[in-house]
Subunit: 510 residues, 2 copies
């Protein structure tokens, strides 16, 4: 018996090694594609596109073939028969999920969606430029139908929108997301009303002026230095749409500079730091498997928003950082930390555009998109009705009505990519950021003094310990529960914004 | 019959399409790896190495598996039964060659060579630092044995050195290479003697001084602008060891700047332009197959050396370029084009180091390495004898004897990589450069006036037409014959150096 057990252990080890090797190959192909995409956004010359598109398409199909090969299925089945150690079981769980999803959708449908989305992009762009929703409507209808078909292949019995949502957020129930968004709407609509009725006069122009690009870049480096970015495992570049990408060994940040928007470049850099800092905190030994990969979009966004909002838009941060900014920009000499803080937290009146929104109105933009795309995919809303419903909701939730579809339902790129189910992860990220920040302060005491001193190791140490180092070892609800002692809840976020904006805008009852 | 023929044509088309798709995938994986290597040399943060090594290893093994798969062999066999159009036959010929080589060497041996070479690198580096050949000798012996074994797998009946040479230069006979190198040695040894005995006093210090890096970079961009580099399909960066890489859609150049070596950065940039300009001239429609790939190392090097030497080290080039250089560096105001020309063509007396060599002595460095590595691989020379033989040959051919192995047989990195058979392609490139340049002038008339005016379109048009656009369509001897009307010959190179240096150094009989 002992020998049998030993032999069976050896077999398992052997099977697991084969499996792990396959998983690592898939991961390496994906990470290579990540470098190619970074290169395309940051350094590739203009005419490189045709070759790059072919290279990325080859890598994507190789990765798909490796994942969906019979051997993968056989190895998964063999390993699922065994009692695996926790870490191994987690790898098997994650790959099983990807395997099931990718094998259930016919490759022809995947390619049709990809081709339709490629063509949809210029159509959407022209429709937006010409403010003509009619031009985009047939394509949007096509994409909605295709994505519904896609969802049916994965699970014919499930709500198709829940299936699509799970592409981005596999372990959070759609019901949880809906509950959170509903609470945000219920609480934020009256809070924003109160802010808009407030007589408080905030400083809004602490950062007005013209700021040289090179000096802004130097300051962005100061930001990253100050927060503790590991330059030996990353770099900073500029890109038209800032993003972060890479692995724990090489987690890169991009940002952008506009002459009249110094504050925007600072907050965007802090935001991208949050993403890259998460990536840098993933465990080295997990490289190549889900153990060394970030949990999904909401958790990633929780990291960027924790740093952007709870740190970068706080009073102590500006007490710490304003003197650094003044070294680069002596014209900030007359600005006080309080004025900088107020400027960084201004709530706008006429907010129609999501990407220009503040910390409060932002989530109503998300709620509107969420409700509309959910109803579209479920078949409860016709494409032709989208502009009217969009405008009605903006009027109801935000008190403004778009005058054109270009600044209404055509403003975002996502639907033209066939991305339905994605938007809510932004709000879930904010909510989780507040929950994690509160748990970190409950554990380690308030961070205000440390932030004022430019000391971020305490906060980051807590995040490393409770979030980063786990990679995908735990499913998201377990990760949140272990880190904060409870399930995902909007409580902390609402508490945070009510207290912050109540004080800033001198609101009664907040 | 007609129907049968049509069906058979349709089958062939179908088989060829399958084959081409497979070839394109292999090419895309290789080009993706090329971007990863560029990234590693140019932008990757220091600690990115462990992940990058795994990514490159995965891409390399995927490419190997795609190439050596049974399907590749079956498609090749089926297509070789057909009468294919010329271009298709060329693609089949090139892939057949790669397929035969890669399938004949056991993967375990390939991996052993790769692992041995990885370990050899630090050993060589330390041996060089400590000037201790003994430390490196056992590893060198191991690499020689492994590469001999590798050659035997490919062709047990052939001269193993010829097999290794064919890895770099598949269609030029080793005999041709030997004949060329012998002629170089016979002619250059007395020519260099004569130069060293000459009383001519050349200006050697036209570019002495200290030159700011940023200004040098601006000047390198001027060089590329002036020669006609297509910036929409390329970019310039810095790297410790300058190189060019990429595809016709994206052919990038790197260079380096040393404060006290402005001339070196200019000539190195012109050299890399030659490589990248070849790549940019490959046909777009051939991307992904050998039709859109550069012919091998000698042809590639012929392009870099044609531009570096025949253009960049010519009198008319300096008449054209010196005024441009003066705009960046006013301190060159007092330098005449003739002085610049002389400084760019100085022959040194005490030349021990290959990478610092001039246009004449360079080839003797190559001849020495070629003779030694050929004899090592053939088993005609023991590793222990290398330092003595090396020093003897330097004394005999160049009249200098290295005092240390660090500046002797340990100076180059190549053998520690297991690269045997590579060096001679540098000299073959110079020889072919002269032959092509002479043929271009025979076709289009002398280029001197155009170069003086900064007009390079005529020369480049000839190269595009006769070399670049063909990709790998013709085997190298055919490409050379079609472009120049004769086989590879050292005549034009020797005529060029004898006339150039005879005049510069006022040599009798030249």
């Amino acid at each position: 018996m002992a020998t049998d057990q030993a032999e069976s252990d050896a077999d398992e080890a052997d099977t697991y090694e084969q499996f792990e090797k396959r998983v690592q190959r898939i991961s390496n192909v994906g990470n290579a594609a990540g470098i190619l995409r970074w290169d395309q956004e940051v350094v590739m010359p203009d005419e490189g596109t045709p070759a790059r598109a072919q290279q990325l398409s080859t890598l994507s199909s190789l990765s798909h073939e490796l994942l969906t090969a019979d051997q993968t299925g056989e190895l998964l089945a063999a390993l699922e028969d065994d009692e695996l150690a926790d870490e191994r079981a987690a790898v098997v769980r994650e790959i099983r999920r990807q395997y099931d999803r990718e094998t259930s959708v016919p490759q022809a449908l995947v390619e049709e969606i990809s081709a339709t989305a490629s063509n949809a992009h210029p159509t959407w762009k022209r429709a937006k430029e010409e403010d003509d929703f009619e031009q985009f409507a047939p394509t949007l209808e096509q994409l909605v139908d295709l994505k519904r078909e896609y969802a049916e292949h994965i699970d014919p019995d499930a709500d198709p929108y829940a299936v699509l949502f799970a592409d981005y957020e596999p372990y959070i129930d759609l019901e949880t997301a809906e509950r959170v968004l509903e609470r945000l709407r219920e609480t934020l609509v009256p809070l924003i009303d109160a802010v808009q009725d407030s007589d408080a006069e905030l400083t809004t122009d602490a950062f007005s002026g013209e700021f040289d690009d090179d000096d802004q870049e130097a300051l962005a480096r100061d930001v990253l230095d100050s927060l503790g970015y590991d330059w030996d495992r990353g770099r900073l570049d500029t890109a038209p749409h800032p993003f972060s990408s890479g692995t724990q060994f090489d987690a890169r940040v991009t940002t952008r500079f506009e002459e009249d928007d110094l504050l925007g470049s600072i907050t965007s850099t802090v935001h991208e730091f949050g993403h890259a800092n998460y990536t840098q905190g993933l465990p080295d030994h997990g490289y190549g498997t889900p153990l060394g990969e970030a949990r999904d979009l909401s958790v990633h966004e929780s990291q960027s928003r924790l740093w952007e909002n709870h740190v970068g838009r706080s009073r102590p941060f500006w007490e710490h950082f304003l003197p650094i900014a003044r070294e680069r920009f002596p014209e900030l000499e007359g600005v006080t930390p309080e004025e900088a803080y107020e400027s960084a937290n201004q709530v706008h009146d006429d907010n129609l555009i999501r990407v220009e929104a503040d910390e409060l109105t932002y989530h109503l933009h998300i709620v509107i998109r969420f409700e509309i795309e959910r109803d579209l995919i479920r078949g409860d809303l016709e494409v032709a009705e989208v502009p009217r419903v969009w405008n009605d909701k903006y009027e109801e939730y935000l008190g403004v009505r778009p005058e054109t579809d270009a600044e209404g339902c055509l403003q975002d790129i996502h639907w033209s990519h066939g991305d339905f189910g994605y938007f809510s992860t932004y709000s879930l990220g904010s909510v989780l950021a507040a929950q994690l920040y509160a748990a970190a302060e409950a554990d380690r005491g308030p961070f205000d003094d440390a932030i004022r001193e430019g000391e971020f190791d305490g906060l980051n140490g807590w995040l490393r310990e409770n979030v980063h180092r786990h990679g995908k070892r735990y499913v998201t609800p377990d990760l949140i529960e272990r880190a904060t002692g409870e399930g995902l809840t909007a409580d902390y976020f609402l508490e945070y914004v009510e207290s912050k904006y109540g004080e800033l805008y001198d609101l009664e009852g907040y």
